[in-house]
């Protein structure tokens, strides 16, 4: 873990009406670190990420991001530093806006000059040909759309990227390409990632440390080497590991 802390969450609690979806979750993420949150549907992993991104304003606890205590509503400077990539590349791009328009919007909001060059560079950085700039989302494949979503997040040159299941809607071969891209971008720019996924193998590949969540509670925090050695401390993490190994016939 790096020396400085980029994100610090302590005693985070989230309730939606009567249901208590996140119970007392605490963790720290160092600058340049990649941190994973794993769990099944309904474990609260995406909710934690949405709270961090400022998309969910009903929570209690303390959140510090880049050394600043966070309020419920975030300001523009926050979004310049923290960007999110969503799960479904089909749903997260405006169907009537070209790639160029999608990337120009965050720059216009933040009043950043030199948009022309920055958009071109962002498209190049995610490995798309420059001819894709004036295409619409329906003219792109799932993997290409997810690259556009990553480009849109990166065009503001944020320090932190929140990734919510960035590859679960993609084919395994395309998943490999997108994961490689994310790894390379992190190395080049010293980005801090929080990656939420239900896929232990993806998190194990991408992250140095990870947290397992179940029913809104943090079950266990471990390093990726603990995971690859199949040595998690709790039985729930063990169960998830076994399930990830694929199908086994009991009678066989």
């Amino acid at each position: 873990m790096s020396a400085t802390v980029a994100i610090s969450v302590s005693h985070l609690d989230v309730r939606f009406g009567d249901s208590h979806v996140v119970h007392d979750v605490s963790f720290n993420v160092g600058t340049g670190e990649s941190y994973g949150i794993v769990g099944e549907s309904g474990s609260g992993k995406s909710t934690v990420l949405r709270v961090l991104a400022g998309l969910n304003r009903k929570w209690s606890g303390d959140i510090d991001i880049l050394g600043k205590r966070q309020e419920k509503t975030r300001n523009k400077a926050f979004f310049r530093n923290v960007q999110m990539v969503f799960q479904d590349p089909y749903g997260s791009l405006h169907p009537k806006k070209t790639v160029d328009a999608a990337l120009a919007e965050p720059l216009a909001i933040h009043g950043i000059a030199d948009a022309e060059r920055k958009i071109g560079k962002a498209i190049f950085d995610v490995g798309l040909p420059s001819s894709f700039r004036y295409r619409f989302p329906h003219q792109l494949s799932g993997g290409q759309r997810q690259r556009v979503a990553i480009a849109r997040a990166l065009v503001l040159e944020p320090a932190i990227l929140l990734l919510d299941e960035p590859t679960s809607a993609l084919d395994v071969s395309i998943q490999a390409e997108v994961l490689n891209l994310l790894q390379a971008l992190r190395r080049e720019r010293n980005l801090t990632y929080i990656l939420v996924s239900h896929d232990l193998a993806v998190v194990g590949h991408m992250c140095e440390r990870l947290m397992v969540m179940q029913l809104g509670k943090a079950v266990e925090e471990m390093t990726a080497s603990t995971l690859s050695a199949h040595a998690p401390a709790t039985s729930y993490s063990q169960q998830l590991l076994v399930a990830s190994a694929g199908f086994r016939r009991e009678s066989a």
Binding site: D171, V172, Q175, H198, A201, G204, S228, A243, A245, F247
Partner: protein, 289 residues
């Protein structure tokens, strides 16, 4: 040792299956000459999006919408030629003898009808039965797919059940007619790993107990390897190779496999072996010639 599929005649024989779409910009060949036989076994079809794996499943059921056309030199289900059969006879077969489980329960169930009624409908279409019998049979079926309180779940609407439960409901609906062949198109892709295993276990039990033939369509080669007896690896509408699943587990025999098959396995991140970078697949146009 002889497997059952070698002793009994195959359930389904497919030879040189082609699916073409006539579009304004020319003919798109979704499936290009696929041949296989299916016995009472678990057959996996693996490939990326656009490899023609789903189209193969749909072609068997005659569910390709126009402008698509299905061509085959042989398409035989238990001795009956599917191609010469008229539409009505084909419809009788569909659902009753060959049926299909779709990928996403959210989009494949009728949102305004309770799940129980949808299962019962499946039964009444294929069997002469009154409502009471159909309901009893549906409840039994819900139990068979391991839903804990079948009577309660029977009256729920699709939006009130979880993804895993919805998938089990769809499996119950397809199996209530006791088909000979079940085509499962990515039945577990939308599910959590633990729920995924439960659904696979149900499918596995049904194949072993009822002697059903299962075609399991997926993009996850590792999962298919752990579940199926044989695997067809498809790319661009063609079968790259057909091989026993056991060979994919054995690293020694993997060396001699098709480069695409090896690519599909290598691009998966592995929990045990961390790598700096994942392998990507290099595709060779010569594979399609």
């Amino acid at each position: 040792m002889l497997t059952r599929s070698e002793i009994t005649p195959p359930l389904l024989e497919v030879e040189n299956l082609r699916v073409n779409f006539h579009t304004a910009t020319g003919i798109v060949q979704a499936v290009r000459g696929l041949s296989f036989t299916l016995g009472r076994e678990r057959l996996g079809i693996v490939g990326e999006s656009g490899s023609g794996k789903s189209m193969t499943g749909r072609a068997i059921l005659d569910l390709i919408p126009p402008p698509g056309e299905i061509l085959a030199s042989k398409l035989i289900f238990r001795g009956q030629d599917l191609q010469t059969m008229d539409k009505a006879a084909r419809r009788k077969l569909r659902g009753r003898h060959i049926s299909m489980v779709m990928q996403d329960p959210k989009f494949s169930l009728n949102p305004v009808v309770t799940v129980g009624e949808q299962i019962a409908e499946g039964y009444r279409v294929h069997h002469k039965a009154n409502r009471r019998e159909a309901k009893d049979c549906s409840l039994t079926m819900l139990e068979a797919v391991q839903i804990r309180e079948p009577a309660r779940v029977y009256d729920l609407y699709p939006h009130e059940v979880s993804g895993g439960m919805g998938q089990r409901v769809m499996i119950a609906m397809m199996l209530i007619a006791e088909p000979d062949i079940l085509i499962a198109d990515e039945p577990t892709s939308a599910l959590d790993v633990t729920v995924q295993l439960q659904v696979l276990k149900i499918l596995d039990d049904l194949v072993t107990r009822r002697g059903m033939g299962l075609i399991f369509i997926s993009h996850d080669l590792r999962l298919v390897t752990s579940f199926c007896d044989r695997v067809i690896v498809m790319y661009g509408g063609k079968a790259m190779e057909t091989l026993p699943a056991a060979e994919l587990v054995n690293p020694a025999s993997l060396e001699s496999r098709h480069p695409y098959t090896r690519g599909l396995l290598a691009c998966l991140p592995s929990i045990e072996h961390r790598r700096a970078e994942l392998a990507t697949i290099s595709r060779d146009p010569a594979w399609l010639s």
